[in-house]
Amino acid sequence: MKALVVDDSRTMRLIIGRELTALGFEVVEAPDGRRALEVLREASPIGVVFSDWNMPGMNGLEFVKAARAEASFRDIPIIIVTTVTEMGAVASILEAGANEYLMKPFTREAIAEKLALLELSSPDGGPLG
């Protein structure tokens, strides 16, 4: 299963990508929301999206809104990666259509937990978490 990691920081993309790879995902990356939408169109099927919240250009919230506006992306699970300082924004992100949020710093178990919440099984088979 493919997972799309959206973050303007290459370091964060690598960190999230490492965990997702370990969980058995094939990881594709995008540096911002606009590019993420392009990847969704080109590299489908994407099984799950992990998107940063604070990004230049199109931020996480705008990305979620844009993705949900397109019928073909409406059901792709989107998990917003955020930090405690952005907690106030979580409600609006979920309202905009994100399925879950993941708080930095996270562990692999935390990712697996979120995936399990969305009833996404690990591509390896076996239950997550």
Partner: protein, 717 residues
Amino acid sequence: MEDRLDEIAEAFLIETREILGKLDNHLLALEKDPASPDLLSEVFRAVHTVKGSCSFLGFSKLEAVAHAGEDLLARLRAGERAMDPDAADALLGMVDAIRAVLAGIESSGQEPPEDHSALVSRLKRLAASDPVPPVREARAAGAEVREAAETTVRVAVGLLDGLMNRVGELVLTRNRFLAEAAGREESPFWPIVQSLDAITAELQQETLKTRMQPVDTLWKRFPRTVRDLAVTCGKRVELDLEGGGTELDRTVIEAIKDPLTHIVRNAVDHGIEAPELRAARGKPAAGRLLLRASHAGGQVRIEIADDGAGLDLERIRSRAAGSGLVPAERAAAMGERELLELVFLPGFSTSDEVTTVSGRGVGMDVVRSRLKSIGGSVELDTRLGKGTTVRMQIPLTVAIIPAFIAACRGQRFAISRKDILELVRPGRDGSRAAIENLGGTPVCRLRGRLLPLVFLDRELGLAGAEAAAASGSETVVVLAPGERRFGLVVDEVLGAEEIVVRSLSGRVRDIPVYSGSTLMGDGSVVLILDADGLARKSRLDAGEAVREGALSAEAEDSQEETGSLYLLARAPDDGRMAIDLGVVERLEHFERNAVERVGGLAVVKYDHEILPLVEVSDVLVERRRKPRGVEGVQRAEGNIHSAVCRCRGRRVGVVVDRILDILADPLSVRRPPSREGVSFTAVMGDRVVEILDVERIVSMADPDPFSVPGAARGGGE
């Protein structure tokens, strides 16, 4: 995985450096256009990105700096605080600090030890809008780091541990040297020994320094731990970490990890109240937890302070009296200090009532004993309704060694594990590890090999509780300090423990069988046995033994059946010879200057007798020139090793170059004698061993060695 981690760290360094390049310019632009929302957002996001990655990479110092900067920027961005020269200055200081830490990470792979807590608190104060005078130290520290970074190298921890162990061994060797040299100030070796002593001490100090790590390595676990705990307990907690640059020996850091975690958990779980309760008590909804490390008088002090409920001393008092831990009238008279001490009592903490109502207590006894074991201490201060502060005092460095704790005659002793080969329960009568008596020397037969024994109670003159043999639990601790090997008989081995070595002082220091002392968890002092010193004290020089491992292994492989036992010795030309132990009474060494010449024969005073000495090598090798072997004996350097043999009803000391081992009849293939004085030869490994005919050698050395007036007779006394 490792590659991937390095790749991430690499990406982080590149990305952060790019960000820093932009930040400088953005901040300068901000000073001119302080209200620009675009610039503020950009700067905020940049710092936010750095902070976000730090927490994954374990760069807690960087994270702390970026976090504080982010807080200030958030206030600026929200328009809650105006950008002014102070703020700009602090933010530029933050950029410098980040850059300095980055340079350190780049060169050493980890954060440099410099402390940025002054900068962090300055940023925090600015975020809180309190005007403060500018602080420049952060930038000065940054400049230092960049210089230091170029002169550091990365060293594997395993290598440092190895180095530390070698230094430990060097110290012990030095100690032996000092013991030998004592009282010989006029010797030409004296100044050399003195400088060896001084250099060893310095080396030990400096090696200890290489193992220092910043407390940050501990701090970095806590943001996550506290956050998770707070979520689990339904609390809101703000964690502040200070003094992360304070350095401690890594063994100490390891040792305090668990106690510290325990205290932090207690603080979040029991100390800090739920948000609603806090609000009801007029406190901010989020509790504050502060971890602070600092140097204090050659020690490190760690404080864990919360602004939670505090401990209810009256509850502790009634609880102590109620549970019978303390007599009621005593409890009634107790002051605050004494009451707080009760929290550290084992058993006291088990009460749910106390822990849930008034704060903490769970397992504080464990925390204290753990800290004691590394030579530290812990105490607490509390104010009801205001919070609790736990203070830990920790030594900068300690030498922690794995050890076994043994009991003998009701006393406990520690034995360093590095000296211990194995533990053997001796059996009785013919079983494999039965204790036997060999010509006055107790031995234990272990896998076909004889192990000389030292009875700890006899050696130390212990009396009191029942003797070892009576209890049936006696244990032979097989020790191999350096290259000799022997069995130490103790009443019981209680278990393994990591102990902290404390040096001995005063009179005890001069007793060679102790290498130090250690404080047990229960507060009692236990002496650490010096295996080498014990071996020397009990004159086990015979057991030079293990050095000749190949020979011994050969012996084990050959027949294990009982037969004659042989004393294996080395000749001056490195040849091997053996003496049937049947004629050997004891192994002794004498000081060279104790040897006297009486009537052309070398003799030595022994057991109130005069013992004639016969040097085998002289008799065998240089017989024609020195038929009496006298010159040889007097020429020998250092101690003279001899087997005291019974010969024609009398004692004679057969002098050899060095006694190597006791072998259980390894001489399965006998060959004809090589020369006079030899009964037969045998091959062991690639060496020929000559088995001596002691009686013949004695008569070769002197037709009548017992002609000396007053020479030993009978030898039975």
